[in-house]
Symmetry: C2
Subunit: 341 residues, 2 copies
């Protein structure tokens, strides 16, 4: 590496013995220059460690190579996992992802979209909070910026949606639970932070009806994203009040289930599918820690990889002008049998 400091593309063109427009072409698309030229440029980059000024580049480009990733709550390991997978795939595709978390706050979600707009991204992957107040803002944003929704569906918004088949999640688990024991009750938050919860409840009601069982939905209080604590305190109350009509509880998501398991532990209620147990507990999502609860949590695994791949692919297809055939894609979950049910 040479000691000379190259600051502008002009200077870099000089030292590499080429013209600036050629260098510019190279940085916009390396394959657009002859391979011998490309080699010279890359040798010069290695020698002078030149990087074009990002701001000057993006100022004039019709489209930047930025993509935005917005998740509702980064501290939720399920979304952290989503974000990680999406970032990886964007980088592979040559885009520069920027990650934002709404931290559960609708106002912050609006601010993030504002900022994203001024970042002129090539596209955005958005998992909305799913709170009604922001509906109009998100629709407006999607009509300005190419946006793919994931995880949480909003009708007629954005280029499309990729997510999980929440109905299938619930049906799959209910079938399993009914086949192997008593039909489950359904434990959920009365006012869920995440709209997928509604699909899961509806699927529960439908599946129970189809199987000829009486449903039993237990709604617990609590707002916000501290699901474990809500599951623990609300679950404890439900146990004391004997709200469950069977010895099997399907929780709306794993984080709720994790809290509920703690409530069971505190009341010395033995959880599991063996004969000496009092209750069976199941969740949905395959949260990274579900494997490590005691007993390990039986759940339905989200197909993170397919969802993230589908999300990135859909966005890139749209950005790069390929026709997007499927605008609504959902992936089935996989039953993960562990000891809790």
């Amino acid at each position: 590496m040479s000691g000379v400091k190259i600051n502008t593309m002009e200077e870099f063109a000089t030292v590499s013995g080429l013209s600036r427009p050629t260098i510019s072409k190279y940085f916009n698309d390396p394959k657009s220059v002859r391979s011998s030229t490309r080699a010279r440029i890359e040798a010069a980059i290695a020698e002078y460690d030149y990087h074009p000024n990002i701001y000057a580049m993006n100022q004039n480009r019709k489209l930047t190579n930025n993509v935005g990733i917005v998740v509702p709550y980064i501290s939720d390991p399920v979304f952290a996992e989503h974000a990680r997978a999406l970032e990886e795939k964007c980088i592979e595709a040559g885009f520069r992802p920027t990650l934002f978390s709404s931290h559960g706050a609708p106002e912050l979600e609006v601010e993030i979209l504002d900022l994203l707009r001024s970042l002129k991204p090539a596209g955005v992957m958005l998992a909305p909070l799913g709170r009604t107040p922001n509906k109009a803002v998100i629709e407006k944003f999607c009509s300005d910026v190419p946006t793919v929704l994931f995880d949480s569906y909003l009708p007629d918004t954005g280029l499309g949606f990729v997510g999980s088949n929440n109905s299938q999640f619930a049906k799959l688990m209910i079938d399993y639970l009914c086949r192997t024991g008593e039909p489950p009750c359904f434990l959920e938050m009365k006012t869920p932070a995440n709209p997928n919860a509604n699909r899961r409840r509806i699927a529960y009601l439908e599946a129970m009806d189809a199987l000829g069982f009486d449903p039993c939905v237990v709604g617990i209080d609590g707002t916000g994203w501290a699901f474990e604590e809500i599951g623990r305190s609300g679950g404890a109350r439900a146990l004391i009040e004997k709200s469950f009509s069977s010895n099997t509880v399907l929780c709306s998501n794993d984080r709720l289930a994790i809290g509920f398991l703690t409530a069971c532990f505190e009341q010395k209620i033995r959880v599991g599918r063996e004969s000496d147990c009092d209750i069976r507990v199941a969740g949905m999502d395959d949260h990274p820690f579900s494997r490590y609860t005691c007993p390990p949590l039986t759940t339905v695994a989200q197909d993170f990889n397919s969802v993230s791949k589908g999300t990135v692919d859909l966005l890139l297809d749209a950005i790069e002008g390929r026709d997007i055939s499927e605008t609504y894609t959902i992936f089935d979950g996989r039953l993960v049998m562990r000891e809790s049910a």
Copy 2:
């Protein structure tokens, strides 16, 4: 809001009846214009929804108002929590944080620093992976960009460091454990992903020595960031091989402890501090999930709030030219007694 679309600052200056340099001054510092002028500008912003072009602004500014946040692994809830707290405090202070995760990969850490450099941020808050290969790269980066390290210390690097007093963490827990039962063994990864583990082991050895007990360090295999699985599989082996010289195990961190609790459960070893229990288990960090293990995990709580506040404050002091008196700050942990020990 008017229907007219304002694209440039020039146009915006016209419609607001002021000159462009005044508008420019306003956006660089609203307080730098007379309050009556400020009011006119803000009224015009509300009416025309004008936002200056971020790229054009940053191109010429000596300093942007971007700050970078880099964590080693965003899917680790401890770092997700750190990131959330740092983001919040940056936004409050009027800066624009961008979050990056190295995903445990040293190459990615280098790429992130490269990108950050070209983003010309006002400053960076970096929790390094702590792998030796990147030492030189990070030192170089810190000499170019105002950087505060957090969580993981590197000597003589950056503006300063803010983190936890890992020695105190270990001593605090060991004192408690020795006071209430048998002296603990120490469970850790042989090759820890995070350098804080070394401090904790050293503190363990010192504390045991000071109390006149024989130390017993159990190192388990495994690399990477899947700590729970490492704790479970390695812990299971250690239990079978009877590697622990006492009935008390202090784990190097909570995630390891969570996996170890699962190993105990699988082998029907009762965990807790009551008389009918076989083993006591403790961790360090106060991982968000530790409250919900069965039994709930006794641990030492990191002072997330003080660390994140200290990190942001140190960086902003440096950016805004105040003298930074303390360049190495660590915060003590708080004992969180739960049922596991």
